[in-house]
Every structure is written in C-alpha cells, then in structure tokens.
C-alpha cells in the first residue's frame, strides 16, 4: 500500500484518469478548478481527451455527446455551474446514458461565495433538472473515499445506464490527506451495443430523450422509474459508528459526517451514548436502516451545512419514532465539532 498526500480535487481527478476515463469536459469554477487543471495536464499527456468548454452548458452537452458514443466521460463543477447543467442533465437522464458529474458544493444561493456547503442536496437528490428523474448521488467524507467513489460511480453509471453524481462539499476538494490511488487501468476500446459509433453492419442507433406520443413517453418514464427502484434496492450505502448501544443517533454526510466522528468520540468520553450514521449514498437514502435504528434511539440529530435538506429525508425515515433535531450552518461556515457536541447535549437534555 503506497499512500500519497493528496488534495481532494487532484485525488478524484487522478482516480478518474486511472479508472480509464476517456474524456473530460469542464469549465473552471472554484472550489474544484484544481481537478480541471489536473485533467488538463494528465489527459493530454496520456493522449486522451481534455477540453475546457466555453461554459458549463457546453461542457455538459459535450459530455452528453461523448457518452452517447459509449466512452467513459465525466465533468466536474460547483453550484452555479451545476445549475447551468440542469437541462443537459435532464437530457442525459432521458437518454439513459452513463455519465458521472462531480459537484463540489459552495455557498449559495446565486454567486454566494466559494466556501464549503451542502446546500445542493435537494437539487441533486430531488431533481437536478426538469422531469421525473434524479441522479444516483454519492457522498465522500475523505480523500480515500472520493477516490474509491470515482471508480464506483463509473461502475454504477454504466451498469444502470444512469447519471451518477459525486457530492463533495467544497472542503473535500481543498483538503489533503493520505490516500491510495488505484492502479492505472487499461482503457477499454469496446463500445456498448446501444452507442452511436457508425451504423456498420447493424441498424442505426439513436440516442434521444424525445418521445412523441404520451403513451410512448410514459413507457420510458416507467422504465426510468423501475431503474431507479432497482437502484434503490441494490445500491444504498452508508457507514455506522458505534450504533450498537447508542441512544442518540447522529446523521451527517461528507465533511460534516467526518466531523461527527470527532463529536462522537468527545461525546463518548463524556459518557453520552452517541452513534453515527453517515450516508454514503444520498440517493438512494438509507431510509430503512435509519428507521430501524430510530427504534432504539431517544433522539436523532441531523447535522448539515445547509438549512436542513437531508433533514427532511431523515424525518421521513424516522417516521415519528423518535424526535429529530437539526444543527446546521450555512453560507460556507463549517460547523466545529464543539458546536455539534453542544447540540448533541441539548438534544440529550431535551429528550431525557
């Protein structure tokens, strides 16, 4: 095992390269520009495709084009750029092609600032564009995890022919940690049967999201929903920390999730029986497991860098079994473990 000290943005970019990424299209935006910069050197050096697009609108449509031909392709961005991709993301979902998008969330709404945030949770998990769809969303909490999730993202995207997003929260792009990169993977030259590659010896292929006739489009929608249902069945991922004997459950993801590990340690030291569930997939969400755990808890505390977006999903999961409380910071403020610990104590007091 050879670990390197890696910055999150560089780590996921290099992981993508080693996972056989064939093309990257993107537009600079803080706090993920180092990824684009890393791709700009590495992809060209490896004789693969790197192109800085004229905008995020163009970038996502370049990705759409490349993905239509069955190659491994991705882009990365942050809030405002993601918003500009909404139309393209919806087309990609409607066309059922595999695409991976990384969103390093920053403070919003609007131009906001460039500090870390988790306020695009709803945008990513509930819609990401018009129509009945949403991506599969992975949420890494450390550098090793974002590296591993890049590989997973491609795998899932291609397995289900679906849109996969990696939801970083700004800080994860900026921080450095020791982590191991995967070995360099050969690029597969094979293209899937559905891809547009020139109609040689077969009927022409078509990549489209247009389905004239309501019944036809309804069928497509039903297929999409079934696909999402299958994903929901198979791909829920999360990590638990000391939940066995816990009486109070922390739920947090990404950077806040790892901060809660510190909270948990401190709380345990003070004799509080705190456990932590850290969702690794934001959609599909570990609803059943949270519901199950809720039964043993005196309360649940959700911590987020948002106004309380995942909170709603946790409330839905807990389904009234135990009180759910929230601690959130916004606008780029990263909550300190001490603040969350305070909130834990408050919940503890309130419920006991």
């Amino acid at each position: 095992m050879t670990k390197e000290l890696l910055k999150g943005n560089v780590a996921f970019a290099e992981a993508a390269v080693r996972n056989g990424l064939q093309a990257y299209f993107g537009y600079p935006i803080t706090p993920q520009s180092e990824a684009l910069e890393h791709f700009s050197g590495r992809m060209i050096e490896l004789d693969r495709v790197f192109l800085q697009a004229e905008s995020e609108v163009a970038a996502i449509n370049m990705v759409y084009g490349a993905a239509s031909s069955g190659v491994r392709v991705m882009t990365s961005t942050s809030g405002p750029g993601l918003a500009l991709m909404a139309e393209g993301l919806s087309y990609i979902a409607g066309s059922e092609i595999p695409v991976v998008v990384v969103n390093m969330m920053r403070g919003g709404p609007g131009l906001g600032n460039i500090q870390p945030s988790q306020a695009d949770y709803n945008f990513m998990t509930k819609s990401a564009g018009h129509g009945n769809f949403h991506p599969l969303v992975l949420a890494p909490a450390n550098i090793q995890e974002i590296i591993d999730m890049v590989g997973l993202a491609f795998e899932l995207a291609e397995k289900y022919r679906t849109l996969v997003m990696i939801a970083g929260d700004g800080s994860i792009g900026q921080m450095m940690e020791a982590a191991e990169l995967p070995p360099m993977q050969e690029i597969s030259t094979a293209r899937p049967a559905w891809a547009v590659t020139g109609a040689v010896g077969r009927a022409p292929n078509l990549i489209t999201s247009l389905y004239l006739g309501a019944e036809k489009l309804e069928k497509v929608n039903i297929r999409l929903q079934q696909k999402l249902a299958t994903i929901e069945e198979n791909e829920i991922r999360w990590q638990e920390y000391e939940t066995e004997d816990a009486e109070l459950l922390l739920v947090a993801y990404g950077t806040v999730g790892r901060i809660c590990i510190s909270v948990l340690r401190a709380a345990r030291q003070q004799g509080l029986k705190v456990g932590l569930l850290r969702p690794q997939t934001l959609w599909p969400f570990p609803t059943a497991r949270i519901n199950e755990l809720a039964a043993q808890m005196q309360g649940v505390l959700v911590a987020e860098m948002s106004a309380g977006q995942m909170l709603v999903d946790v409330e839905h999961a807990v389904a009234g079994k135990t009180p759910v409380r929230f601690y959130g910071r916004m606008g780029g403020v990263i909550p300190m473990s001490a603040e969350i610990l305070e909130a834990v104590k408050q919940v503890q007091e309130e419920v006991s």
Binding site: K3, L5, P31, I114, S171, M176, I259, I334, A338
Partner: protein, 180 residues
C-alpha cells in the same frame, strides 16, 4: 498519544500553506494520520492565508478545529486572531521579526523567533516559515527534523530547488533556537 492540531497563518506569500503541507508530508512519512486544509477565498492576492494541519496517531475526524493545540503565526493579524484560541498547554510560535506584541497567556508555551530576520540573513525572507517550523517540531517533538528535511527535498518545486539548502538551514536555525 500523538495528536497535534496546528494552524499556520500569515500573509499570502509568506509560505504558511507550504509549511503546513510540509508538516503533513512529514507526519505521513512517519506513519501518522494527517489532514491539511487551507482557508481559501476569492483568488486575489494580499489577504491572509492559513491552513490547519492535524497530525495524529489516530484516524482523524474533523479536519478543522475551533481551538487548535498549536499555532504558527507569521504576521500580526494572525497573532491577534489565533493567540487567544490556542488550547491550554498548547504552543504558539511567533515570527518576532514582524510581530511586535507579546502573548499574555501563561497557560501555553510561546516561542518567539526573529524568523524573517534569520531568513533574510540566509538569503530570502520567504524562508521565515521554515525557521518557525523547525522551532515548532523541535519544541513539540511531533516529528523529527530529519524527516522534514527529507520531505523538503521531495516536495520543493522545481523553481524552488535552488533554495533547498538555505531552507534546510532555516529549519535547523529554528530548531537550534528552541533546543538552545
């Protein structure tokens, strides 16, 4: 158990971020867990820059802290900001050349070093960061000076390699000042 949460802070260009990175590289080389996280703002020059480095024998949760166990401050605003936050029993390492105030805290270890002056003497005022880092690790025993020097060799960028030896000397001078 080894566990140090250190903030490096100074004007942009004073090398606070690099000093922190070097510590992180060194911690990693010594098989410790490390995290390094910068403050980052609008990409414009002239502001202050700081980073938080955690070096620990145990897996690291929160990569940032409200109250660091140590702070290495390169300029006055950094001193004013972080001096009050250091945990009791912690370390404050001060670039005396540019900071003309003193800490009044009695519950922490404070090291004053004329870092910029020493660095200028060694040929480049930008090496003040190394003087302070050398002093810091020597005082705390967090990592060894040799490992830092090795990491410096490995991670000084191409253009900076000409400054390798002076940088090592700066580390050394800092170390000597506290062990003296």
């Amino acid at each position: 158990m080894k566990h140090e949460e250190t903030i490096f802070s100074g004007f942009g260009g004073q090398g606070a971020l690099f000093a922190g990175q070097l510590l992180a590289y060194t911690g990693m080389a010594e098989n410790l867990y490390v995290t390094w996280i910068p403050s980052y703002g609008p990409e414009m020059r002239g502001g202050t820059a700081h980073c938080t480095v955690i070096v620990s024998a145990e897996e690291i949760g929160a990569p940032i802290v409200q109250r660091p166990s140590a702070a290495v401050v390169l300029n006055l605003p950094s001193m004013e900001k972080y001096e009050p936050l250091i945990k009791s029993g912690g370390y404050l390492v001060v670039n005396e050349s540019l900071i003309d105030i003193k800490s009044e805290r009695e519950d922490i270890h404070v090291l004053y070093l004329p870092a910029s002056d020493i660095a200028t003497e060694l040929g480049n005022p930008k090496m003040a960061n190394m003087v302070l880092l050398g002093a810091f690790v020597t005082a705390t025993g967090l990592v060894s000076l040799e490992t830092i020097a090795a990491q410096l060799t490995a991670h000084l960028s191409g253009r900076q390699q000409q400054w390798l030896e002076p940088n090592k000397q700066a580390l050394q001078r800092g170390a000597e000042l506290v062990s003296a």
